[in-house]
Symmetry: C2
Subunit: 287 residues, 2 copies
């Protein structure tokens, strides 16, 4: 049975599930301790570059398209006319790049607490930051929780919470207080989406998020599912919430057809909204 | 960075992708060399029991429902009246169990070359073999390739190829010759489904399978996608082929609603048929 040494392999252990995922690496390209976290970059054998924060895999060149497309496109094509978009977190700029593919968007703000993530992405993942000079893009480096508390009521159409796991600096982004501020900052027809971990390993996080979003005044909540090879279980989710009473499946399906994507298309959008039977049962039991 | 020792972890390395997946184990429950392969069973910390064949993870108690449900239910609910079903491989009996949930099925034959897989499943995965005394079930232990070559023309409604990877004893199940025999054994409206590896890592296998199935006389071919945590990339596929000129999405959606499942439901069935953009492009380029 193979033993994986730490010279040739980067390994992330998921304690809750007793599982681990490893990638064969050629070398470590970078490591630093920023004001908020430890950021590492590896050159892998078959996944391109890999960014790791506090020991957790964040993204690889090879398959970040799955996560970034699924965080940006479903919510933006569900909103009837998203003009003002705010990304909380997302310092690698991959989500921002997807957001800027939408012609309706007039302003795309990215608020990440750690500027170093963006600077490192510029160096090691230049394809993700290539749209950063778009005049609609605005990169702010500050505390997203405080920023949202200060945001003008009704000033945003879509909020995308592209955070790390609910430990460390991102913990405050998984709370009803934060969602209440988001709800207030959203205009009519406003939508929020947030990465919500693995359906197989973290169903409790998805459940709490549903409860917290509803208690913060969101009228409808719906979880999307998609594959993500480098995250625990290889299966990930994002949870969408509407200021209104329902989340329509699509409102601008025609706009979606024009997007240049690798995973997303209209069929995949609809597919991501399908609720596995065990999730359906679990969420129904909480209502 | 964690180093995974082989005392506490079972690790499967995927050479093509330079990735590895590991599960925390309590102990090895069983190991034997059968006439065909090496079979191991581990007790894991959080995934229940784990069956490993020739070093590759086959199934865990915790999440085999994904694979078995997605191999059985979509194809059986697409066929208008599946009465005679044949499973090639599938020695753990998990697919057979799902097949037997369908009232329309009158005969469910499982042809696995290695009887030891079934005997070990009886001992360590009794929940999978619990339906084996159903009078409709017939367990044969012989070479599925030869069996299919000898099968009476038009004698089967649905063929499910539930095999290991296309190396070793299963290699012959991924060939146009085998598909030609399957095509001949199927009646009108007949359908075949076969596990077809990871869309992220093995798109070439999916592509060859499409070509081989068409060259064997199948009129329509369609790949289904679903998560599978313990398989490489955590994302898996099965490819369905029809003797007719099209694969309708469902024909017996009402029958599906009555099934007792953990992952599958009608929404998930439709979702699994959605083709990711890169798969769509890749397959279109081959046509």
């Amino acid at each position: 049975m193979p033993t994986l040494d730490d010279k040739h392999w980067f390994t992330e252990v998921e304690d809750v599930a007793g599982s681990a995922f490893s990638l064969l690496i050629r070398r470590k390209l970078h490591e630093e301790r920023s004001d908020y976290q430890t950021i590492e970059v590896y050159e892998t054998e078959h996944f391109g570059n890999l960014m790791v924060i506090d020991g957790f895999t964040m993204l690889s060149s090879r398959e970040n398209f799955l996560y970034h497309e699924m965080l940006a496109h479903p919510v933006l094509l569900t909103h009837p006319a998203p003009k003002r978009v705010c990304i909380i977190g997302g310092g690698d700029c991959g989500t921002l790049r997807e957001v800027l593919k939408h012609d309706s968007v007039e302003q795309a703000m990215q608020i990440d607490i750690d500027e170093r993530v963006t600077r490192i992405a510029e160096q090691f993942f230049p394809e993700l930051t290539a749209s950063n000079d778009d005049p609609r893009a605005e990169l702010l480096f500050s505390d997203g929780i405080q920023w949202m508390a200060d945001a003008e009521p009704g000033s945003l159409d879509v909020i995308i919470v592209d955070s790390t796991d609910p430990v460390g600096p991102a913990q405050g982004l998984f709370t009803a207080d934060f969602y209440t501020d988001c709800r207030r900052a959203l205009a009519d027809d406003g939508l929020l989406v947030q990465q919500s971990e693995s359906p197989l390993f973290h169903l409790d996080i998805i459940t709490s998020m549903h409860q917290d979003l509803r208690s913060a005044g969101f009228g409808a909540v719906r979880t999307l599912f998609f594959p993500q090879a480098i995250y625990p279980s290889g299966w990930w989710s994002a949870t969408m919430a509407a200021t209104g009473e329902a989340i329509p499946d699509f409102r601008r399906i025609d706009a979606g057809a024009a997007l240049d994507t690798t995973y997303y298309n209209a069929d995949i959008h609809a597919a991501a909204l399908a609720q596995p039977q065990f999730v359906r049962r679990h969420l129904a039991a909480q209502d």
